[in-house]
């Protein structure tokens, strides 16, 4: 394979250099200032399905740049040749290329300019289909894990509701039946009453626990009643704005709910705020949820904190969770997750 070089300068590339380029696992392609292919290594042949002899001297954009990107590519080449500010040079970028069969695939591209009088650019192209696909699978499996975790919580709450909680109440009824058979003021009556008080406390604790695992009202009615219940229990006034009329995917609803629950707990514990406001906006396929307090500010998401775990849940939905200073002091917790309307 030779570097088809009409100019004497490109011929200065020693045969040894070409052997090195041919041995590279990445596609290496040389392009001149007119956008024509001047060199095409073995990996380029393999990756793009064109033999070197087929492509030398042809317009590179026509060969491997998807049609929708060709205009931008040509403008970029013109800018480079005309001495304009390079956009791609000496950087690693991820773009789409296409092969001889017209199949599009993701590649990582680096372009360097050879130090020659006539413009000559070397492009190093790596097919990253496998990596991109692995990332996609990772994202999907992470999403599925979150869904599975939420489903497990819902099941757990339901099991408590249908099992232990019912049994405790059943026990309370049995104790009541027993108590009715015992004389008031007797030692036995006193013991039964003590047991009933303990039972009442246990029932209440279990109820709070179950609510914390997954509030049933969230499954049944969605964010609106769930946030109402949440803010109703907050120790400071909390306004709620912009709750979507329609139900959202359950994983999104659940993440929003628990983020706000954790956020409100933090506001109550650490911020010294007198009030807080929840706002939900939905636009361009993005759901943006903010919790803004009027406290002392300066909050951050600490490692291992409840919000730290929720940041992972947001990421599992391809979203983000962060804390920022609110205008006029206070703290704003922001959750953004992709969510089609």
């Amino acid at each position: 394979m030779s570097l088809d070089a009409p100019s004497s300068e490109t011929a200065r590339l020693a045969p040894g250099t070409l052997a090195v380029l041919d041995a590279a696992l990445d596609a290496v392609i040389a392009m001149d200032g007119a956008g024509r292919v001047r060199y095409w290594n073995r990996s380029a042949e393999r990756i793009f399905g064109f033999a070197s002899a087929q492509v030398i001297g042809r317009d590179m954009a026509e060969l491997i740049v998807p049609e929708r990107h060709r205009e931008a590519h040509r403008r970029g080449v013109e800018r480079l040749v005309g001495g304009g500010v390079p956009v791609l040079i000496d950087q690693r970028v991820e773009i789409h290329a296409q092969d001889a069969a017209g199949r599009e695939f993701p590649v990582e591209l680096t372009v360097t300019r050879l130090p020659l009088a006539a413009p000559l650019f070397l492009g190093y192209v790596r097919d990253i289909s496998a990596r991109v696909q692995a990332e996609q699978e990772l994202r999907e499996s992470r999403h599925r894990l979150l869904e599975a975790a939420y489903a497990a919580r819902r099941r757990f709450e339901r099991d408590l509701h249908d099992g232990a909680q019912q049994r405790l109440i059943g026990t309370g009824i049995a104790l009541q039946l027993l108590r009715a058979r015992v004389e008031d003021g007797s030692e036995l009556a006193e013991l039964i009453d003590e047991a009933r008080e303990e039972l009442t406390a246990a029932t209440e604790e279990l109820r709070e626990l179950a609510r914390g695992i997954h509030p049933a009202v969230l499954t049944q009615g969605g964010l609106r009643p769930a946030l109402r219940a949440l803010t109703g229990r907050a120790p400071i006034p909390v306004t709620v704005d912009g709750v979507p009329e329609d139900r959202l995917p359950i994983a999104v609803e659940t993440t929003v709910y628990f983020t706000l629950a954790e956020g409100l707990t933090n506001v109550a514990r650490h911020s010294g705020a007198a009030s807080a406001a929840i706002a939900i906006e939905q636009s361009d396929g993005l759901l943006r949820v903010t919790l803004t307090d009027d406290g002392r500010g300066g909050a951050a998401i600490g490692a291992g904190s409840g919000l730290d775990g929720l940041r992972d849940r947001a990421a599992a939905l391809d979203g983000r969770l962060w804390v920022e200073d609110a205008d006029g002091g206070g703290t704003r917790l922001v959750l953004e997750v992709p969510c089609e309307q």
Binding site: Q166, L168, G170, A174, Q176, V217, Q220, G232, P235
Partner: protein, 230 residues
Amino acid sequence: MSSEEEPADGGGAMRVIVADDSAILREGAARLLTEAGFEVVAQAADADELVRKVRAHKPAVAVTDIRMPPRGEDDGLRAAVRIRAELPQVGVLVLSQYVEEAYVEALLANGAEGIGYLLKDRVADVARFTDALHRVAEGGSVLDPEVVALMMGRRTAHDPLAELTPREREVLGLMAEGRTNRAISGALHLSERAVERHVTAIFGKLDLDATGDDHRRVLAVLRYLEAVGG
């Protein structure tokens, strides 16, 4: 007339139907009520069975869990609303393991007469449970103190309840639970006249219409608390 159809007021013991998908609770509550002098004319394990049996037996009160089959969501609540709409002579007492304002709203959307909403654990307090049944059967309203506490406790930037004295707040809470002036006077060890004075003061401060039956008082208080709660 089939053997299942019985007159609504046969005299004697109050007739009730108990619905819960948990057999332990259903049987337990039925037994408790029987020992307390009620007649449990039927039991139901799901919401559809409840509606069917209420139509057949026309009891004084239907006691139902909220979360029940067939869907396993708020089926019992929906059945209760349906029963009140279809058979106004049948009171409903709804039991729930959680107090939710959304449930209260759905239940009271078309009025508060003959409707009760209690936390399920209250069943084990037989005096309270049977008192609630009687009040609902008479067309009154009963709300769990937790509901009232939740609604009164909802913090707002401007809190009009702040104008009330601690005693007036106590009286308001009991009113919202559906208590009569007489019952409130008993609970707070006040004369009935003193309670009346408090009630008048409360309605005045909160700008509510004080006239009407007990369930109208409950509704007025709740509407007010809801409006404040936003």
